[in-house]
Symmetry: C2
Subunit: 338 residues, 2 copies
Amino acid sequence: MSAGKRVTIADIARHVGMTNITVSRALNRPEMVRADTRERIQRAARELGYVPNAFARALKRSDSRLIGVVTASIDNPFYAEMIKSISRHAKQHDYAIMLFDTDGDPALESMAIDSLLSYQAAGVILSPVTDEPDYQPDYIKRLAAGSMAVVQLDRTLHDSGFSAVVLDNVWAGDCAAHYLLERVLVQRSGNQRRLLVVAGPEQSQISRQRLAGVQQRLAGHESDVAVDVLWGDYNLPLAQAEVARYLAHYPVPAAIFGFNQLITLGALRALREHGIDRRSLDVVGIDRLPYLDIFGISVPCVVHDGYRAGREALELLLTQMAGEPSPRTVIVRGELLQ
Amino acid sequence: MSAGKRVTIADIARHVGMTNITVSRALNRPEMVRADTRERIQRAARELGYVPNAFARALKRSDSRLIGVVTASIDNPFYAEMIKSISRHAKQHDYAIMLFDTDGDPALESMAIDSLLSYQAAGVILSPVTDEPDYQPDYIKRLAAGSMAVVQLDRTLHDSGFSAVVLDNVWAGDCAAHYLLERVLVQRSGNQRRLLVVAGPEQSQISRQRLAGVQQRLAGHESDVAVDVLWGDYNLPLAQAEVARYLAHYPVPAAIFGFNQLITLGALRALREHGIDRRSLDVVGIDRLPYLDIFGISVPCVVHDGYRAGREALELLLTQMAGEPSPRTVIVRGELLQ
DNA sequence: CTGTTAGCGCATTCAG
DNA sequence: CTGAATGCGCTAACAG
């Protein structure tokens, strides 16, 4: 209750006329202490306002109950959903979450990893700032050398060898292309059969896979659909600018496929900007565009279950922490929502 | 580099033929060590893959570089924005964030506080599960007794005496009501002059303030606008259900005012469900309904700058941590966006 | 069931 | 500028 010094186990010991270790046991392994002394100790702890010192405990036991989450953008709804899921499940296993939002900055990402190593985190769930193969941050070595479990989420470091939970990106591309082919493109005529894909960075593995999915589906179909690809980034303004520039130079395509939520929104905004009714062509996306049904709007999207992805990541991390040596990859497949 | 034991300061000391303390100094207060030995030590540290042990350091210095963030819903975009802002600014002051998503569960909230006390967090930014005055969790005592700085964010514990960053809720209500009066309600006739307010929980201080703002504005206007209030919670399904029930029993009001993003969306969905064109009446809300402009939809809203609120909260926390004894309250005013 | 001893890794005394 | 001793708070390991 006193605001001055912190109450330690020793204070309680003095208070009840026992030794430290007995107090420690009464608090952590109650069954090892006689019922009445246990009572006395626990009551004293409560009355004195005892708060265990997590640092001292972790130092002694050299195992922390900490899990790190490193992500580039907590304000991306898909990531927020995954983080919520991780947080919820971590709590069930008595782990606290240390969160790092790297804001797309590799330097911050590296510092985040160092912090986690420093805090002896039992594991990290990592979604790097980019998944381009060139990105080979030097913390990979530090991570691989240590005993910290690692699970990558959504974005992966090329060839890092860590476990991962990723989306089925090829399938997502395939699925959207299939939708476009079956329902849409077949109904159009001649040179209208043009699909505009608005992708992320040209080197992004995720974008490449999604595009591969599209191409694989088109190839199987023996159609004469032409694909134009705009490379950019996973944000709205750039996607909007790219699409605007495209529309200024080429005829309106039969369909547009946006590779994530923000890209799709950017493309739609560009259409509007050019005075083109979005219903005059077909737009599909990846990731949910929430609440549009309320306004009678429907944009078909391939959506992935972020809650599930988060859970899978945490479970994978726990098995790694339990000693499973071989890295595993879990693939989460989405579904087309119309 | 070795995967076995962690390398400590002592290993480095042995390696370079110095003692622990010199190594410690070379790493933390380089100016206290001769240049060449400092070099040797720092190089050895790098080569051996030394990682400082944050626990040992914190234990010794009894000051952690940890700030706790406790919130009910990281997946609420407004909260996500605030958390991102907190995270970004905390990093600038070399603090790491420990995040707790309480998921609306008071028990989890209490555990989160205990964890933070246990980790000797320098401060907490707290947004409790509810702001109803009845909610007086017993961790308040523990918090007040200790030396941890506390700043409440958005939602506050009634009479807790902690610093806070809150929204100007009265003003938000006033502002929306003003808009409705000036632009809208005056144009309607007789018994059509009915405003439906869809609020949060009946005891929520925030909802009460927003409602007070509405009533104050209406009172000042000497108008004959009647207000119906639906109490509920800050989520979509309940708001939708309440509004649906209202529409089943009463004539369509001249306007609907939703007290947060999800409530407004719920109300709009109820309208749609009842086959009522939302443009046949006036709908205003609090919180942004993002991206609707892309679809040519406009729902006027009072929006608050979450990024700023987060920054203010962190700054307030830092001043508290620096010893400022008197609690302060910062009020963030929103603006009407049409 | 309880106590003694010892040490986790680091940084603060105080001496050289 | 460098070192020796000491302790932060807690809990193994081994007694008793």
